[in-house]
Protein backbone atom coordinates (compact mmCIF):
# COMPACT_ATOMS: atom_id res chain seq x y z
CA UNK A 1 0.00 0.00 0.00
CA UNK A 2 1.35 3.45 -0.86
CA UNK A 3 2.77 5.24 2.14
CA UNK A 4 2.74 2.25 4.41
CA UNK A 5 6.46 1.63 4.09
CA UNK A 6 7.24 5.19 5.11
CA UNK A 7 5.01 5.24 8.14
CA UNK A 8 6.73 4.97 11.49
CA UNK A 9 5.19 2.27 13.63
CA UNK A 10 5.47 1.04 17.15
CA UNK A 11 6.88 -2.40 16.56
CA UNK A 12 5.52 -5.39 18.41
CA UNK A 13 8.39 -7.19 20.14
CA UNK A 14 8.73 -10.36 22.12
CA UNK A 15 9.75 -10.18 25.75
CA UNK A 16 10.95 -13.27 27.56
CA UNK A 17 9.80 -13.70 31.15
CA UNK A 18 12.98 -13.94 33.24
CA UNK A 19 11.38 -13.47 36.63
CA UNK A 20 7.93 -13.43 38.13
CA UNK A 21 7.19 -12.61 41.74
CA UNK A 22 3.97 -12.27 43.71
CA UNK A 23 3.72 -8.76 45.14
CA UNK A 24 0.39 -9.39 46.87
CA UNK A 25 -2.23 -12.15 46.75
CA UNK A 26 -3.58 -10.69 43.48
CA UNK A 27 -0.64 -8.85 41.99
CA UNK A 28 2.57 -9.96 40.26
CA UNK A 29 5.73 -8.25 39.13
CA UNK A 30 6.81 -9.66 35.76
CA UNK A 31 10.36 -9.03 34.52
CA UNK A 32 10.92 -9.25 30.78
CA UNK A 33 14.07 -9.33 28.73
CA UNK A 34 13.28 -7.56 25.47
CA UNK A 35 15.76 -7.81 22.61
CA UNK A 36 16.31 -4.49 20.89
CA UNK A 37 14.65 -2.46 23.66
CA UNK A 38 15.63 1.15 22.99
CA UNK A 39 15.18 2.43 26.54
CA UNK A 40 12.35 4.35 28.16
CA UNK A 41 11.54 7.18 30.54
CA UNK A 42 10.14 6.47 34.00
CA UNK A 43 6.35 6.68 33.79
CA UNK A 44 6.05 5.48 30.22
CA UNK A 45 3.85 2.58 29.16
CA UNK A 46 3.84 -0.50 27.01
CA UNK A 47 0.95 -2.17 25.21
CA UNK A 48 0.71 -5.89 25.90
CA UNK A 49 -1.09 -8.10 23.37
CA UNK A 50 -2.46 -11.59 23.84
CA UNK A 51 -3.61 -13.73 20.92
CA UNK A 52 -6.04 -16.61 21.39
CA UNK A 53 -5.73 -19.82 19.31
CA UNK A 54 -8.65 -18.61 17.14
CA UNK A 55 -6.82 -15.34 16.37
CA UNK A 56 -8.81 -13.13 18.76
CA UNK A 57 -6.55 -10.47 20.23
CA UNK A 58 -6.78 -8.41 23.41
CA UNK A 59 -4.51 -5.48 24.14
CA UNK A 60 -3.87 -3.57 27.36
CA UNK A 61 -1.64 -0.69 28.43
CA UNK A 62 0.67 -1.17 31.43
CA UNK A 63 3.03 1.21 33.18
CA UNK A 64 6.65 0.18 33.14
CA UNK A 65 7.68 -0.43 36.77
CA UNK A 66 11.44 -0.67 36.20
CA UNK A 67 13.94 2.14 35.72
CA UNK A 68 15.71 2.77 32.41
CA UNK A 69 18.90 1.63 34.17
CA UNK A 70 17.47 -1.87 34.82
CA UNK A 71 18.32 -4.85 32.63
CA UNK A 72 14.69 -5.88 32.36
CA UNK A 73 11.37 -4.24 31.50
CA UNK A 74 9.12 -4.94 34.47
CA UNK A 75 5.33 -4.78 34.71
CA UNK A 76 3.26 -4.82 37.89
CA UNK A 77 0.01 -6.53 37.04
CA UNK A 78 -3.02 -6.40 39.30
CA UNK A 79 -5.34 -9.32 38.62
CA UNK A 80 -8.83 -8.21 37.54
CA UNK A 81 -11.11 -11.19 38.15
CA UNK A 82 -13.22 -10.80 35.01
CA UNK A 83 -10.34 -9.37 32.97
CA UNK A 84 -9.30 -10.65 29.55
CA UNK A 85 -5.58 -10.05 29.98
CA UNK A 86 -4.50 -9.73 33.61
CA UNK A 87 -5.52 -13.26 34.84
CA UNK A 88 -3.36 -14.73 32.09
CA UNK A 89 -0.41 -12.56 33.10
CA UNK A 90 -0.70 -13.30 36.83
CA UNK A 91 -1.84 -16.96 36.78
CA UNK A 92 -0.77 -18.62 33.52
CA UNK A 93 2.39 -16.89 32.32
CA UNK A 94 5.58 -18.65 33.45
CA UNK A 95 9.31 -18.01 33.39
CA UNK A 96 10.75 -18.34 29.86
CA UNK A 97 7.36 -17.71 28.25
CA UNK A 98 7.24 -15.06 25.53
CA UNK A 99 4.96 -12.04 25.69
CA UNK A 100 4.12 -9.62 22.88
CA UNK A 101 4.58 -5.96 23.74
CA UNK A 102 5.26 -2.62 22.10
CA UNK A 103 6.52 0.68 23.41
CA UNK A 104 7.60 2.67 25.19
CA UNK A 105 4.88 5.22 24.68
CA UNK A 106 3.46 8.16 26.61
CA UNK A 107 5.32 11.43 27.15
CA UNK A 108 2.99 13.13 29.61
CA UNK A 109 3.20 11.25 32.92
CA UNK A 110 6.99 10.99 33.00
CA UNK A 111 9.74 12.11 35.31
CA UNK A 112 13.49 11.88 34.74
CA UNK A 113 16.57 13.24 36.47
CA UNK A 114 16.82 16.35 34.26
CA UNK A 115 13.45 17.59 35.55
CA UNK A 116 14.82 17.82 39.10
CA UNK A 117 12.64 18.15 42.15
CA UNK A 118 11.09 18.22 44.52
CA UNK A 119 9.14 15.16 43.53
CA UNK A 120 5.75 14.35 45.03
CA UNK A 121 4.28 10.95 44.17
CA UNK A 122 0.82 9.86 45.34
CA UNK A 123 -0.44 6.36 44.57
CA UNK A 124 -3.61 4.39 45.15
CA UNK A 125 -3.06 0.62 45.18
CA UNK A 126 -1.25 -0.68 42.11
CA UNK A 127 -0.96 2.93 40.91
CA UNK A 128 2.45 2.82 42.59
CA UNK A 129 3.89 0.97 39.55
CA UNK A 130 5.19 4.01 37.59
CA UNK A 131 6.56 5.48 40.82
CA UNK A 132 8.76 2.40 41.33
CA UNK A 133 10.33 3.23 37.96
CA UNK A 134 10.74 6.90 38.91
CA UNK A 135 12.25 6.21 42.33
CA UNK A 136 14.58 3.46 41.05
CA UNK A 137 15.71 5.99 38.42
CA UNK A 138 16.15 8.67 41.09
CA UNK A 139 18.33 6.30 43.15
CA UNK A 140 20.48 5.55 40.11
CA UNK A 141 20.69 8.96 38.46
CA UNK A 142 19.66 11.73 40.84
CA UNK A 143 19.79 10.56 44.48
CA UNK A 144 19.89 14.17 45.74
CA UNK A 145 16.49 15.08 44.32
CA UNK A 146 14.12 15.52 47.28
CA UNK A 147 11.23 13.09 46.94
CA UNK A 148 8.14 12.10 48.87
CA UNK A 149 5.87 9.13 48.22
CA UNK A 150 2.41 8.63 49.68
CA UNK A 151 0.73 5.27 49.03
CA UNK A 152 -2.87 4.49 49.90
CA UNK A 153 -3.88 0.82 50.20
CA UNK A 154 -6.92 -0.88 51.63
CA UNK A 155 -4.94 -3.20 53.91
CA UNK A 156 -1.21 -3.46 54.71
CA UNK A 157 -0.97 -6.74 52.78
CA UNK A 158 -2.07 -4.92 49.61
CA UNK A 159 1.13 -2.87 49.57
CA UNK A 160 3.21 -3.39 46.40
CA UNK A 161 6.99 -3.03 46.30
CA UNK A 162 7.50 -3.30 50.05
CA UNK A 163 11.22 -4.15 49.76
CA UNK A 164 11.80 -1.23 47.43
CA UNK A 165 9.96 1.23 49.66
CA UNK A 166 12.33 0.36 52.50
CA UNK A 167 15.30 0.99 50.21
CA UNK A 168 13.87 4.32 49.09
CA UNK A 169 13.57 5.36 52.73
CA UNK A 170 17.25 4.53 53.17
CA UNK A 171 18.10 6.93 50.33
CA UNK A 172 16.19 9.83 51.80
CA UNK A 173 12.74 9.44 50.26
CA UNK A 174 9.92 10.22 52.68
CA UNK A 175 7.59 7.24 52.29
CA UNK A 176 4.16 7.28 53.92
CA UNK A 177 1.65 4.46 53.69
CA UNK A 178 -1.96 4.91 54.70
CA UNK A 179 -4.48 2.07 55.04
CA UNK A 180 -8.12 2.87 54.35
CA UNK A 181 -9.70 -0.19 55.98
CA UNK A 182 -9.40 -0.99 59.67
CA UNK A 183 -5.72 -1.23 60.48
CA UNK A 184 -4.54 -4.45 62.14
CA UNK A 185 -2.99 -4.42 65.61
CA UNK A 186 0.59 -3.28 65.43
CA UNK A 187 0.13 -1.07 62.34
CA UNK A 188 2.23 2.02 62.95
CA UNK A 189 1.54 3.80 59.68
CA UNK A 190 -1.24 6.19 58.82
CA UNK A 191 -4.90 5.29 58.50
CA UNK A 192 -7.72 6.79 56.46
CA UNK A 193 -8.12 8.29 53.04
CA UNK A 194 -5.89 10.89 51.42
CA UNK A 195 -7.51 14.22 52.24
CA UNK A 196 -6.36 17.82 52.01
CA UNK A 197 -5.43 17.57 55.69
CA UNK A 198 -3.25 14.50 55.08
CA UNK A 199 -1.60 16.21 52.10
CA UNK A 200 -0.90 19.20 54.32
CA UNK A 201 0.98 16.92 56.72
CA UNK A 202 3.00 14.72 54.38
CA UNK A 203 3.20 16.35 50.94
CA UNK A 204 5.44 19.15 49.70
CA UNK A 205 3.65 22.48 50.09
CA UNK A 206 2.75 24.39 46.91
CA UNK A 207 5.45 26.95 47.73
CA UNK A 208 8.11 24.31 47.02
CA UNK A 209 6.70 23.99 43.47
CA UNK A 210 6.93 20.19 43.42
CA UNK A 211 6.40 18.01 40.39
CA UNK A 212 3.24 16.17 41.48
CA UNK A 213 2.16 12.82 40.06
CA UNK A 214 -1.03 11.02 41.11
CA UNK A 215 -1.80 7.50 39.90
CA UNK A 216 -4.55 5.08 40.89
CA UNK A 217 -8.20 4.21 40.40
CA UNK A 218 -10.39 6.98 38.97
CA UNK A 219 -12.17 7.88 42.22
CA UNK A 220 -8.90 8.06 44.15
CA UNK A 221 -7.17 10.21 41.55
CA UNK A 222 -10.04 12.66 41.22
CA UNK A 223 -10.34 13.07 45.00
CA UNK A 224 -6.60 13.59 45.46
CA UNK A 225 -6.28 15.97 42.49
CA UNK A 226 -9.17 18.06 43.83
CA UNK A 227 -7.59 18.13 47.30
CA UNK A 228 -4.24 19.20 45.83
CA UNK A 229 -5.78 22.08 43.90
CA UNK A 230 -7.86 23.06 46.94
CA UNK A 231 -4.66 23.31 49.00
CA UNK A 232 -3.10 25.66 46.49
CA UNK A 233 -1.17 23.42 44.10
CA UNK A 234 -0.91 24.67 40.53
CA UNK A 235 -3.10 22.33 38.43
CA UNK A 236 -0.48 22.53 35.66
CA UNK A 237 2.08 20.90 37.94
CA UNK A 238 -0.27 18.06 38.93
CA UNK A 239 -0.20 15.16 36.49
CA UNK A 240 -2.66 12.32 36.83
CA UNK A 241 -3.04 8.81 35.54
CA UNK A 242 -6.14 6.69 36.05
CA UNK A 243 -7.08 3.11 35.53
CA UNK A 244 -10.50 1.50 36.00
Amino acid sequence: MAGTALRRRLTWRLGRVVDQRAETATCSRISLRVDGWGGHLPGQHVDVRLTAPDGYQAQRSYSIASAPEAATVDLVVQRVDDGEVSPYLTDVLRRDDLLELRGPIGGHFVWHADLGGPLQLIAGGSGVAPFLAMLDHRAAAAPDVPARLLVSVRRPEDLIGRDRLDRYRDTGVAVDVTVTRTAPPGWDGRTGRVTAEVLGEVAWPPSERPHVFVCGPTGFVEAVADALVATGHDPRRVKTERFG
Binding site: R7, R8, R9, L10, H45, D47, Q59, R60, S61, R102, G103, I105, G106, G107, H108, F109, P217, T218, G219, K239, T240, E241, R242, F243, G244
Partner: protein
Protein backbone atom coordinates in the same frame (compact mmCIF):
# COMPACT_ATOMS: atom_id res chain seq x y z
CA UNK B 1 -20.73 0.96 32.82
CA UNK B 2 -17.18 0.24 33.93
CA UNK B 3 -14.93 3.06 35.08
CA UNK B 4 -12.99 4.75 32.32
CA UNK B 5 -9.29 4.27 31.65
CA UNK B 6 -7.19 7.23 30.54
CA UNK B 7 -5.60 8.32 27.28
CA UNK B 8 -2.66 5.99 27.70
CA UNK B 9 -4.99 3.12 26.86
CA UNK B 10 -5.37 4.65 23.39
CA UNK B 11 -1.70 5.58 22.95
CA UNK B 12 -0.61 2.59 20.86
CA UNK B 13 -3.62 2.65 18.56
CA UNK B 14 -3.28 6.40 18.05
CA UNK B 15 0.41 5.96 17.24
CA UNK B 16 -0.65 3.52 14.51
CA UNK B 17 -2.72 6.31 12.96
CA UNK B 18 -0.71 9.48 13.58
CA UNK B 19 2.85 8.11 13.82
CA UNK B 20 3.66 10.28 16.83
CA UNK B 21 2.93 10.16 20.54
CA UNK B 22 -0.57 11.64 20.58
CA UNK B 23 -0.89 11.44 24.38
CA UNK B 24 0.87 14.80 24.82
CA UNK B 25 -1.63 16.54 22.51
CA UNK B 26 -3.90 19.10 24.14
CA UNK B 27 -7.48 18.64 22.98
CA UNK B 28 -10.11 21.39 23.09
CA UNK B 29 -13.71 20.21 23.36
CA UNK B 30 -16.01 21.50 20.61
CA UNK B 31 -18.89 21.41 23.08
CA UNK B 32 -17.65 23.23 26.18
CA UNK B 33 -14.21 24.55 25.09
CA UNK B 34 -12.40 22.82 27.98
CA UNK B 35 -8.82 21.87 27.10
CA UNK B 36 -7.07 18.80 28.48
CA UNK B 37 -4.01 16.79 27.63
CA UNK B 38 -5.04 13.63 25.82
CA UNK B 39 -3.23 11.37 28.31
CA UNK B 40 -5.63 12.51 31.04
CA UNK B 41 -8.89 12.17 29.10
CA UNK B 42 -11.35 9.49 30.24
CA UNK B 43 -11.25 6.61 27.76
CA UNK B 44 -14.00 4.04 27.34
CA UNK B 45 -12.44 0.98 25.77
CA UNK B 46 -15.21 -1.57 26.25
CA UNK B 47 -17.17 -0.33 23.25
CA UNK B 48 -16.49 -1.94 19.83
CA UNK B 49 -14.11 0.97 19.38
CA UNK B 50 -12.50 3.40 21.78
CA UNK B 51 -14.14 6.62 22.90
CA UNK B 52 -12.15 9.50 24.41
CA UNK B 53 -14.40 11.89 26.26
CA UNK B 54 -14.14 15.43 27.56
CA UNK B 55 -13.30 15.31 31.26
CA UNK B 56 -15.40 18.41 31.90
CA UNK B 57 -18.66 17.81 29.98
CA UNK B 58 -18.47 14.19 28.81
CA UNK B 59 -18.74 14.90 25.09
CA UNK B 60 -17.11 12.30 22.82
CA UNK B 61 -13.95 14.04 21.54
CA UNK B 62 -12.40 11.22 19.58
CA UNK B 63 -13.79 7.87 18.52
CA UNK B 64 -11.57 5.22 17.07
CA UNK B 65 -12.51 1.85 15.57
CA UNK B 66 -10.41 -0.74 13.80
CA UNK B 67 -11.50 -3.20 11.13
CA UNK B 68 -9.15 -5.48 9.23
CA UNK B 69 -6.91 -3.16 7.19
CA UNK B 70 -8.73 0.03 8.20
CA UNK B 71 -8.81 2.41 11.16
CA UNK B 72 -11.72 4.81 11.55
CA UNK B 73 -11.25 8.08 13.45
CA UNK B 74 -14.10 10.47 14.26
CA UNK B 75 -12.86 13.80 15.63
CA UNK B 76 -16.01 15.88 15.28
CA UNK B 77 -16.25 16.45 19.04
CA UNK B 78 -12.85 18.17 19.09
CA UNK B 79 -12.47 21.82 18.14
CA UNK B 80 -8.68 21.99 18.28
CA UNK B 81 -5.63 19.78 18.66
CA UNK B 82 -2.49 21.44 20.02
CA UNK B 83 0.43 19.19 19.17
CA UNK B 84 3.94 19.75 20.56
CA UNK B 85 6.37 19.68 17.63
Amino acid sequence: MTSPLDGNAAAGRLFDVFSFDATVTRVTCAGCAATEVLAELPVYADAPGMVLRCGACGQALLRLAQTPGRTWVDLRGSALLEIPT
